[in-house]
Symmetry: D2
Subunit: 349 residues, 4 copies
């Protein structure tokens, strides 16, 4: 089979460099172009020296003709960019994977509420497939446009899904306490993410409401068949990569949750998911166990055999939480082995 011709729009941020790292080593992909208005002319490997010897591309001005010549285009742009450019590509037969949030929320009104912009193409939004393969694998395979999930939503949904699907818990009082490495805040210069500001410190942020809240709620509500109630608190953690989601739910008598074999439930739910690893009972996954790897490791606990279930779910926010998942979606869309180019082992220590 001939290689898939891929392009990247935007790509000077962390999801960009991670996408380059993965695609450069992908056996079935030819990387045609990476665009950046601000960095046009700069060799990619000059900005990201880890890519020296692996990526010879130069950032270029976006050229519609070049992008239309791709089989797939990844948008690694800020929120609000992809929605203004996707239409033309889809018409040209190019398939699109958006790593930003433009197509994650199905309701344009909700999108406007949380992102502060009118949605530019609600019609296209309607056909976008939410790219969480463990939920939507078949729809992704046939999709022209995939909305790659957010990082917190990936960790939180994968952790909660088996419980919600099985109806075991009180889904009106879910709690997702999530901790993220600082790379989640992106690569742009900002005082709050300077090492001297956020090393050796921990803080919650956006407690009144974070944009990933409606995304997680949407995903869980779809599965529940009704609106779930969720409290989501993200925290800035002094490390580069990694998300640790600590999820709390109450088992209900109604759902017969107190008698469920939770370990078996999770193992069974993800038996066919190459990139979700259910750990043995009693485990405590560390984020480093997935550093650089496209995997979500999950442990499920029921402390003191009470009615509370605690799920621990870890991912690398830049891999399974962003660029790795985008490649996984591409693999599915193009009928490749879902794991192609994604077999890298996490870096420990």
């Amino acid at each position: 089979m001939s290689s898939i011709r891929a392009g990247i729009v935007g790509g000077t941020g962390y999801t960009g460099v991670e996408l380059l790292r993965l695609l450069a080593a992908h056996p079935d992909v030819e990387l045609l172009t990476i665009t950046s208005r601000s960095e046009a002319g700069t060799p990619v490997a000059e900005m990201f020296p880890n890519l020296r010897g692996h990526v010879d591309l130069v950032f270029s001005e976006p050229d519609p003709a070049v992008l239309r010549g791709c089989d797939v285009v990844f948008f690694a742009t800020p929120n609000g960019v992809a929605m203004t450019q996707v239409s033309e590509l889809l018409e040209a037969g190019v398939r699109v994977i958006d790593l930003a949030a433009d197509f994650r929320l199905q309701d344009p009104a909700e999108w406007r509420q949380w992102y502060g912009l009118e949605h530019a193409c609600p019609d296209i939004l309607a056909e976008a497939v939410y790219g969480l393969p463990e939920v939507n694998r078949e729809a992704i395979a046939g999709a022209r446009l995939v909305a790659n999930p957010g990082c917190y939503p990936t960790a939180a949904q994968l952790g909660f899904l088996p419980l919600i699907e099985a109806g075991l818990v009180d889904d009106q009082r879910l709690v997702a306490d999530c901790k993220s490495g600082v790379s989640g805040a992106g690569r742009k210069a900002a005082q709050g993410t300077l090492l001297a500001e956020c090393a050796e410190s921990m803080k919650a942020y956006a407690v009144p409401g974070h944009r990933h809240l409606p995304e997680i709620r949407q995903g869980l509500s779809r599965v529940a068949g009704h609106a779930v109630g969720l409290t989501f608190v993200p925290h800035l953690t002094p490390m580069i990569r990694g998300i640790h989601a600590t999820l709390y739910a109450h088992l209900t008598d109604a759902g017969n949750g107190l008698n469920a074999d939770l370990q078996a439930l999770y193992a069974s739910r993800y038996a066919d998911s190459a990139f979700v690893d259910v750990l043995p009972a009693g485990s405590h996954p560390e984020t480093r166990s997935v550093r650089g790897a496209n995997v979500c490791r999950i442990a499920v606990h029921r402390p003191q055999d009470g009615d509370v279930v605690v799920v621990l779910s870890v991912i690398d926010n830049l891999v399974k939480g962003a660029s790795g998942q985008a490649v996984q979606n591409m693999n599915i869309m193009f009928g490749l082995d879902e794991a192609a180019g994604l077999r890298g082992i996490a870096l420990v220590p």
Copy 2:
């Protein structure tokens, strides 16, 4: 007034060096002795070079006569040591502050269950005062023996107390998701707390049950007047100092919680507490804002005006969570200004 003569038993760990830092600068304390069997003969400042020029003591073998000559003795020993030595000191008229867990749980059976040892002096345990000044200030003033609270319990109780006291929340479904710096694990050589193991990573631990669970539950239950239901999950965070407690509770109609002015409640509750700082509405405290300082900073949120209250409570685990609180207790016991020696400002950045 003449100086208080203080002794420290144990003191080669992190609470020990922090106690030395605070006592060395305390205007009303004369440090008489610090004991360590394993390090007897080693100058303190050789082990802890930050103390060079400030502490001239040498670690010594424990000498009962010297300890009996103290006004107060701090135990900074491993769990299970103080309970075998306190009796003699109390009889000699020495007042004791135990930084370990020996006297924190009032029920000897519960102590045995969680700490795996038979309690050596249940009679003395009965008179021990739990040293959380914001709850027990008067009892501390008259105590011969103070059980200095654990680090997580300090952050969690100070955060939950106003809600429980006011009866505003469902106290059967409390969640305390707590993040601690690695110094909380102590100074002894251990693989799990090597920098190469726990930097750049985040993990929960002891989800099935941590020793601080019964301590927090005991404190909140006393205030509630009945047993509360609490899920407590501690996390190891890649930083040296600091605890961030993220606390979740549901406001109840019964308690009229949905109409409460939570900000005013917290401000009022801690108006007379010099070392609890209630932040303005909408704040997100960082652990670094208390690094090295004896203060707990708290913010209270009610996301999207729903029925969930989220409390953010941060302390330095070695100061307000250990040695600083011990000094605060000493100040209260000896009738000093409660803030004496504790006015140091947190180190930022």
Copy 3:
């Protein structure tokens, strides 16, 4: 004695917050004003929450009348600001300590070469005293204007001085390999100092030439009586605070260096310097041993008894390398105890 009335111009950076931390706790200082055009109206404690309860000031527009009412004004401004404002203050009888570089290089041509600006007041430059108390204590006492040294220059000069003064080494081939925490790069938003860029990494920078090179060279050349030859390489180290200077020099026969008792030399040189701590022979100082403290700890080695001397010199770049030294200079200028307000103990761990 009545308090010294102090003002700070600029103060939203790291040297600013550190100066506030130190002055707020200084027994002999009344802090009158802190200016910031960009932050006028913002309470200081809102920007720096560690100062809540300790500093009630609000950033204000610079008001010449208020500044003229101070006994001393600290400039914690970017390079090039103080030189345009100092004249007026000096005329009003205010004494000035500049924490920036404006008055560090005595030669205006050299200043222009390294800082890219014409010096605004070469006449005043001529009277400025270089504020390294261990060299210039007497001149500082009588100075109207003190140029507070740079961070690297403080660590490097204090480490090299005894050798140069004694003429023991080949001063044409000095090497200063220096490692700095990231706070040395300041608090302004910049990509290069994001946690996700510089944590878990080490790099040299400015190898072709750093602005502190001429400053160190000037200080050592003065002492040598002729121009010394120095190679200076700074490194960005993944920590917040701290400078570790590793200094290399060759002992010369001519200077009889091979027979010198280096340990005694250093001990004697700094016997009267409260803030230089010469460690016992064989020591390896850690930067954390001075974190938050106004002290330089030094160890001197002669590996394998060869002809190379290796000096290890550590400071906290924000304290002895900036704000602490500024307070030390103020103490000397106003005839206070040199250690007033500077007795804080380093924070370990």
Copy 4:
């Protein structure tokens, strides 16, 4: 070609897990066994969860028959172990790569001096090949026993070699100021490498003499044709992986060093070395640019066009400084593509 059957003796340390990560993904290797007396029976992936799904081996008691059935055996054991076991394997026709220090120093007397043990097999030592491929590629190809270089020696030698080979510098006054991440100290429980001890701090260690000094000196002296003079100071840096070697030498008139084109010299010297990347003039390599990758990146500077050359050389201590180099040596020994299994891209950020 059939797979190479590989075994690992020892392997519970960091070089062990890194070797497993690399060999598990190597296209031409079948991993037969990994031994550990202390962990016999433990699945490898239980100790190193990053290997879950990639390595199914269980640590086993060393079994001579199994090891003799290997084509190659890697020793990832503490110093002093391999030298007692290698003889038997060599006789059985197994080729050996020792990641420890047992065969690095050619002179048994020097080995005894620095490692405190009598060498167990000086005769075998005589045939061991020092496994720095950029120097000894041909000898490695034919070797039965390869001594894999130390981490500091790899970074320092690769940086100095072109200068020494070309005779451009005063090789009696070389300085190697090296900074290492904490993983270099190994995975065994030790107080000094606890996160709470060495995060947020920097220190030199072993200034009087480090075991890698004679190794670097040996390598450079061979090339120089006479004994070189070297000062080597290692530093513990608060990060997990990475070595940054900052190397200083004086260009000599005699060697015509002042007229040399250093950039061209380095580019030419390493033109055929796939794993040494000479950066463009003016570069400052970061250790993160090689994190997880088997590459040494080098920049060469001549500050202010003076007579000092400063070389910056960075590696990942666990890859090019240990396990990656071991795999590179294996590839050479078995006639594989030198880069087989070593094309992984460094993880940034």
